[in-house]
């Protein structure tokens, strides 16, 4: 493989489980199973899917906050699970930054906004004591907290949800990372500011080649911003496709359900959905496809064998027996 073909980040069959249940009856909850995708310089990959399907877990795996139980994770072709097995190096932690899902829990209440942003600047040598404050002000301005002077000396409790979310984004940008794992970075922003923040991320990937994993429930935003979209359900990848294609021609029945549920002009809360309600068990999952119990297009294999991930077209992969049958 030549250098140009080595993706910035590659996940190969990454799995993890959590021990749950009582002390005497420990059981394994399979939070992600065999997740594989790549993320390249300047690329934005959207991750969408059911609440509880393992999206945040993927981001936490890549940040090395939770251990993997299988698979490989390659940064510039180097399997970091092998080269840095116990914990990530400082260099890795600079290169890979995370924006956490919960802006109310991810900022430390005792510290000011200035502290939150200056700390990574200093830790990773991106500013000196003398210019850290002006660098922090600039970052606040970038994320639309204007005038930045109004915000820099505040404590998190005096900020609204959306303002905290933007502080978290500024903090992640501070060490000039190569990869940002953005876990629902704009869920508490009004649509106009949301557009501004997404445009900022888009700018950074074009100008600086920043790679972004964009976890979101906002499918329209994912369509407009992401190059590719990965769809998760019950810890497994159901589909991956170029963003436009996924939205216009979703191949997996779960992706179809997801698209059908997006609020549309003139739509009603009670418009029928193309699948049954239900939640998949992650502890002792049934054999076969995790979506089978809700799917209205099942074939016999769906309840017996896990569908393999197959290639449908360029950049388009799906794990569904309907398509396995068709391509054979």
């Amino acid at each position: 493989m030549n250098a140009a073909a080595t993706p910035l980040l590659e996940l190969r069959d990454v799995s993890t489980s959590f021990r749950v249940g009582g002390f005497f009856t420990p059981r394994l909850l399979k939070a992600t199973q065999e997740v594989s995708f790549t993320l390249d310089r300047g690329e934005i990959v959207g991750v969408v899917g059911e609440s509880g399907s393992g999206k945040s877990t993927i981001a936490r795996l890549i940040s090395r906050l939770v251990p993997t139980t299988g698979g490989a994770m390659l940064l510039d072709g180097d399997d970091v699970l092998v080269s840095e097995p116990r914990r990530a190096s400082l260099a890795y932690r600079r290169r890979v930054q995370m924006i956490f899902q919960d802006p109310f829990g991810s900022l430390n209440p005792v510290h000011t906004v200035a502290h939150h942003i200056e700390r990574p600047l200093l830790l990773h040598g991106k500013a000196t004591k003398e210019n850290a404050r002006s660098a922090a002000l600039e970052l606040l301005d970038d994320v639309g907290l204007r005038p930045a002077e109004d915000f820099i000396d505040q404590h998190p409790h005096s900020l609204s949800g959306g303002q905290r979310q933007r502080v978290a984004i500024a903090r992640a940008l501070a060490p000039e990372p190569d990869i940002i794992l953005a876990d629902e970075p704009t869920s508490m922003l009004d649509v106009s500011i949301r557009m501004d923040v997404l445009r900022l991320l888009d700018d950074l990937r074009h100008k600086r080649g920043l790679a972004i994993l964009f976890i979101t429930h906002d499918l329209a935003a994912a369509k407009h911003l992401a190059d590719r979209i990965v769809v998760m359900y019950a810890g497994r990848m159901m589909e991956e496709a170029p963003a436009d294609q996924l939205v216009k021609e979703p191949a997996h029945p779960y992706s179809q359900l997801l698209m059908a549920a997006v609020p549309r002009r003139g739509g009603s809360l009670h418009d029928p959905l193309p699948a049954d309600p239900g939640t998949p068990p992650l502890v002792d999952p049934r054999p076969g496809c995790p979506f089978a119990a809700r799917c209205r297009q099942t074939v016999a294999a769906c309840t017996t064998t896990t569908p393999p991930v197959i290639q449908l077209g360029p950049g388009h992969r799906v794990a569904c027996h309907l398509h396995t049958a068709r391509t054979q």
Binding site: G105, V191, H217, V262, L269
Partner: protein, 319 residues
């Protein structure tokens, strides 16, 4: 006319910061009728959470309610004694806070949380356990998670547990501050359907704060829009969708990314004003394409511009 369930009038709230007061809400007025869902949208930082918290009187230091009134079935909430407040909160209202993702006690299981709330209302034993299971069903979470601790739940699952707890007793008034931000559109839709069905059956009223205008259009009775501490428009949902009049409301509708269109949404130019030094006149005028001279000097009041349709904009008054 009988008194509405909730009447908020000219509500002013300020946060007393070291370097001067932040006027988080100014002269906010609205009513909420029994069985109604009032959606509240608006700029991030415009005072939506502050309005809900002030109306429930859960604002702490350094916030002060500097003016206005909040009446619940005609009774002044802002003058209730501590004992009356406790009783009122116990019987008549509940709230899902915006910080729900972070609201659970890390050493208590989901079941402990639900039982706590139920016990506070005299429901204990087998009846409480049964109700706990039903509440998890309501918010689409597998019952085995009754034994889970908060860190064992995903963001959306924590949010749903808190939502379930707020619905445990279905009082006549429920405040919900961005209760579904962490949910995928399918689960969100399933839960909203149940919520609306429950609400139709039991007749409680909801103040629903969200940034998801498209979702709101599908179930709210009326929609209110806030900008920089003011309520700038209130209208019935249909009317709002087809004929929002305030320039900020129109900008907001135009900024929604659409899944069924390739056109990029248009964000509103400029940035929201500082609450410490707000611009004179209409607070939106520096960003408004339609601004008149008067907009720079005089603050427009919220006035009726049509049947059940209110807006605060000089341009609309002139027209």
């Amino acid at each position: 006319m009988p008194e509405p369930l909730l009447r908020v009038e000219n509500l002013d709230v300020a946060y007393l910061a070291a370097d001067g007061p932040v006027r988080a809400t100014s002269k906010v007025s609205f009513t909420l009728e029994d069985g109604e869902i009032l959606g509240l949208v608006g700029e991030s930082g415009s005072g939506k959470s502050t309005v809900a918290k002030a109306a429930m009187r859960v604002l702490g230091q350094p916030a002060v309610i500097t003016g206005g009134s909040v009446r619940f079935r005609g009774r002044e909430v802002l003058r209730m004694s501590d004992a009356e407040l406790r009783q009122w909160r116990w019987r008549d209202v509940s709230m899902v806070m915006q910080s729900a993702l972070n609201a659970m006690n890390p050493v208590m299981t989901v079941l402990d949380h639900v039982l706590d709330t139920l016990a506070a209302h005299g429901i204990t034993g087998a009846a409480a356990k049964k109700r706990a299971g039903e509440l998890l069903d309501l918010v689409e979470i597998d019952r085995h998670h009754l034994r889970s601790y908060p860190h064992e739940l995903s963001g959306g699952m924590r949010q749903r547990v808190v939502l379930g707890i707020a619905l445990a007793l279905t009082p006549p008034l429920v405040f919900m501050d961005e209760p579904t931000t962490a949910l995928d559109v399918v689960v969100e839709r399933q839960i909203m359907r149940k919520l609306v069905a429950l609400q139709a059956e039991l007749g409680f009223a909801v103040l629903f704060i969200t940034h998801d205008v498209s979702l709101l259009l599908e179930f709210a009775t009326r929609i209110g829009v806030m900008y920089s501490g003011r309520l700038v428009e209130v209208a019935p949902t249909q009317l709002f969708r087809d004929g929002a009049r305030h320039p900020y409301s129109k900008g907001l509708l135009g900024a929604i990314p659409r899944i069924d269109s390739d056109e990029a949404p248009v964000s509103i130019p400029g940035s929201p004003p500082s609450l410490k030094n707000p611009p004179p006149g209409c607070r939106f005028h520096p960003r408004c394409a339609d601004a008149l001279d008067v907009c720079e000097t005089r603050e427009p009041p919220l006035v009726q511009i049509g049947a059940d349709h209110w807006a605060a904009c000089h341009v609309l008054e002139v027209a």
